[in-house]
Amino acid sequence: MSTGWQRAIIVGASSGIGEALARQLAKSGCKVAIVSRREHELKRLSDSILAAGDRAAAPLWYVHDVNDTENASALLQEISHDLGGLDLLIYSAGVMPLNPDDSYDLTADLQAISVNVCGAVAWCNAAAERFAKQRGGTIVGISSVAGDRGRRGFPVYSASKAFVDTYLEGLRNRVGRLGVKVVTVKPGPVDTPLVNGLDKKKLPMLISSDEAAEIILRGCSHDGVLYVPGKWRPVMWIVRHVPSFVFKRLNV
């Protein structure tokens, strides 16, 4: 499958959807730069992509902690140089603190805000500035269906994804007219390390990260909001319209 993208950065590529996206983009002939905090994971992924494809498919890899927002722009500049340009930025770093009904873990919550929100803003801002000058390019932010409602199980995670939704919408309205595509990806449950703490049997419409990546790469040629898989769109439309007094009584 050719995606039309030549040079991509994937932030948060060492596992989950980011990893699957990196593999599939590399396979399609796109030059891929993978960014993650964990060096050994990056090496493992890079080696296995190399083993699967030819030498040209070798991804470039960069160790970077998305909490280190101040360096995001500089690293984007460096990677763009190494890739010889840039057409696609995917921000797929994310953490989900689990807050059982009786616990409040501020450290974990702030960490989630830092990764899901601050990191996304740092990278997507930098990409938007570059793409606006380029009059082209695609920014993909991995949000979640969780952002559509405040959920009792993970208030901060839901809120962080709601931030990402609104932020990317704003970005789209800002740079869309300059030819830049901004895609908000909203997956339902995907079988990734993110959901390791949950009972997978109870997750509705669970898909593999490979399936998710396929849907995302197919859907990201248009900007807008992309539910993954698409059937979440009507489902979440209904969920969004459930009145609060009903929603708070539901066990979701």
Binding site: S46, W61, Y62, H81, L83, G85, Q134, R135
Partner: protein, 492 residues
């Protein structure tokens, strides 16, 4: 090269840089110095950030010759002072950002004209000399380099070396046509051509094949000062190679009784309207509906029809500017080629093989169903510059529209045409090129010439600071021991 101290180029300098053919574009850190010290600052920044520097003048190269993706682009257009002009001897000393327009306008009043001019006047003379451009009089006057007496070249380490035919002749003959790989010109001294009128005597006539047009050129070369052929590349196989020849001669002293007037800039100016009616600036919009093979076939046919009937064998007097700067007649005409832009394919073929080679090119075009919308035919001769593109023969420049659905076919066609040209002992021109491969460049320049150029490059620019997308495409990073990418290496 790698950043020394984490120094980053300011992202405010990031700009989109486009090829003239609009088929290549990239972001680059653009510096626009107006002084030599300004250039040095840019070099210093590039050095600290571990980036390379590509020089850009008017940006009139069709391909990637003035693009340096994600690295520094040194735009010299603000280095545009005229330093000295001797109207007795016709010798002018200029900075590299002076455009051809500024140059001819500066000298014409004193009865001089640039000896070699391109089809557009918006090139800078630095770029012109860097590419060693030619004109419609190449067979007579050679490339612009033959009229350069001396230049200053700013090297990668910031020092300046003065070169002429006597002083560092090796650098003189390599930097002219050296496509910005040895240094940045900071001063050029050139000799202009004496003219006795602002007018040329122009003759036009029709020809029907490549063989015929070449024969006409051979006959006229001795008498005419300029010769250019236009080829209808969309003609069907019966009419293949048909075209029009425009031949022009300088007037002798006394031929033009109102020379004082015709040598004024105002007299030379291109008309503001076409057919006395349509403002030129919007003309390209009228051409837009014809921007397909059928529309262009019609326009080419109409041009040939008019030229071969009412215009045939007519002699007229035309101003230098009107005859020379055909590309500037319809401003922004290249937008007709949007959205994909255009590729110009120009090959230079020795005279004995030219007609056959160009016939073959036309055949390849129809085989792959890619049709040039414009074809221009010129006569050339050899010169002494190291990286020369000229041959004792002819060139045919073909303008191909770039379209998504025909892009692969165009690539294949050009590949095949390259083979035919190389087999005929032909050459190519960096200012036009966007498709050559390293093997093609090796084949026409020859191993020895490339080795010699590399040797001079290593002496003047040991770190390979001067680079462009074109240079990387054809010659790699110059320094084979330069690491291409840290992460790539570590990943192995």
């Amino acid at each position: 090269m790698k950043s020394e101290d984490g120094f980053l180029l300011p992202s405010s300098r990031l700009e989109k840089v486009q090829s003239w053919g609009m088929n290549r574009e990239a972001l680059a850190y653009v510096y626009r110095p107006s002084t030599v010290d300004g250039i040095r600052e840019a070099l210093n920044d590039a050095h600290r950030a571990g980036r390379t520097v590509g020089i850009r003048g008017g940006g009139c190269s069709y391909g990637d010759a003035s693009i340096n993706s994600e690295n520094v682009v040194l735009d010299i257009t603000r280095m545009n002072r005229i330093l000295r002009w001797d109207p007795q001897e016709g010798i002018i000393e200029i900075e590299p950002g002076v455009t051809l327009q500024r140059l001819w306008q500066y000298v014409i009043g004193d009865g001089w004209w640039p000896p070699v001019v391109s089809g557009t006047m918006f090139v800078t003379m630095g770029g012109a000399v860097g590419m060693n451009y030619h004109g419609k009089n190449n067979y007579k006057m050679g490339p612009i380099g033959e009229h350069v007496l001396e230049f200053d070249l700013l090297l990668a380490d910031g020092t300046i070396v003065t070169c002429s035919r006597e002083q560092r002749p090796d650098v003189f003959y390599a930097a002219i046509g050296g496509f910005g790989m040895l240094g940045c010109f900071t001063r050029l001294v050139m000799k202009m051509k004496r003219v006795y009128s602002g007018l040329l005597e122009v003759e036009a006539f029709a020809t029907s094949t490549f063989t015929e047009i070449a024969r006409v050129f051979e006959q006229r070369m001795a008498v005419d000062d300029y010769l250019v052929g236009w080829i209808d590349c969309l003609a069907t196989s019966n009419g293949r190679g048909r075209g029009l020849v425009h031949a022009a001669r300088y007037l002798k002293p006394g031929d033009d009784s109102s020379a004082n007037q015709t040598l004024q800039i105002a007299y030379q100016d291109l008309p503001e309207t076409l057919f006395g009616l349509v403002p030129k600036s919007i003309m390209w919009r009228f051409l837009k509906p014809f921007s397909n093979d059928t529309g262009m076939r019609l326009i080419n046919w109409a041009r040939y029809f008019m030229g071969s009937t009412v215009g045939n064998n007519k002699t007229t007097r035309q101003s230098h500017a009107a005859f020379a700067f055909l590309l500037d007649y319809v401003p922004n005409w290249k937008r007709v080629y949007l959205p994909g832009g255009l590729v110009q394919y120009q090959s230079f073929v020795p005279a004995e093989h030219a007609a056959a080679c160009f016939d073959q090119q036309m055949e390849i075009c129809s085989k792959y169903k890619v049709f040039p919308w414009l074809g221009v035919f010129k006569r050339h001769r050899t010169d002494n510059f190291l990286m020369t593109h000229a041959v004792d023969g002819y060139s045919l420049a073909l303008d191909f529209p770039v379209r998504k659905r025909s892009a692969d076919r165009l690539k294949q066609a050009i590949c095949e045409m390259n083979r035919v040209v190389l087999e005929s002992g032909g050459r190519f021109y960096f200012a036009k090129d966007s498709m050559l491969t390293p093997d093609d460049a090796n084949a026409y320049l020859g191993q020895d010439v490339i080795a010699r150029f590399r040797q001079i490059k290593r002496e003047l620019d040991p770190d390979g600071l001067w680079q462009t997308d074109l240079s990387r495409r054809l010659f790699g990073n110059w320094n084979s021991d330069t690491a291409p990418n840290r992460a790539l290496q570590e990943a192995r």
